[in-house]
Amino acid sequence: AQTVTQSQPEMSVQEAETVTLSCTYDTSENNYYLFWYKQPPSRQMILVIRQEAYKQQNATENRFSVNFQKAAKSFSLKISDSQLGDTAMYFCAFRNFNKFYFGSGTKLNVKP
């Protein structure tokens, strides 16, 4: 069975600082996709970044980057130069075939 674990229910970071959100997953598959979604107070799920399991290079999108460790089944999200607008719930997600599995989320508070 596929599972996604986010062990940090809540984190805080000062504006302009860097924060890393952790995610681990469990699967026996070799080909899959990993995602980080952001859910601001508006509740809409917004894609932040994605990583294909077959790619060794870590994905980067502006201030957002991942540390993908396939052997360890770890997929952490690093947010650099944190901004107030980054305050949200962040969900790690795993896609295998036709289904997405979500972690329980990490609530990130960016403090001024």
Binding site: Y33, Q44, M45, L47, R95, F100, Y101, F102, S104
Partner: protein
């Protein structure tokens, strides 16, 4: 930029009533999903839909739930007889094959 749209944004219904939640996926997408999120909890998979049929469903998706794509654009979730525990945020998503794009959600409140 194309987006998934859901209506209504908020629905209040009496326990035992039927509700239909509507979604317009992104037009060239082939995979469609419904997820739900009870307040403060994780996002739970309900059902996936491909090629005009259900491809997978969860244990939550019992006989009270059904999905349809009646006209090639809308994708609906019907709950036949709502229970209090159906109160949640319901998200529709569509995918062309990799990432899923989510709608803004419908908050369903069963009273």
């Amino acid at each position: 930029e194309p987006e998934v749209t859901q209506t209504p944004s908020h629905q209040v219904t009496q326990m035992g009533q039927e509700v239909i939640l509507r979604c317009v996926p992104i037009s060239n997408h082939l995979y469609f999903y419904w997820y739900r999120q009870i307040l403060g909890q994780k996002v739970e998979f309900l059902v996936s839909f491909y090629n005009n049929e259900i491809s997978e469903k969860s244990e939550i998706f019992d006989d009270q739930f059904s999905v349809e794509r009646p006209d090639g654009s809308n994708f609906t979730l019907k709950i036949r007889s709502t229970k209090l525990e159906d109160s949640a945020m319901y998200f529709c998503a569509s995918s062309e094959g990799v990432e899923a794009f989510f709608g803004q959600g419908t908050r369903l409140t069963v009273v």
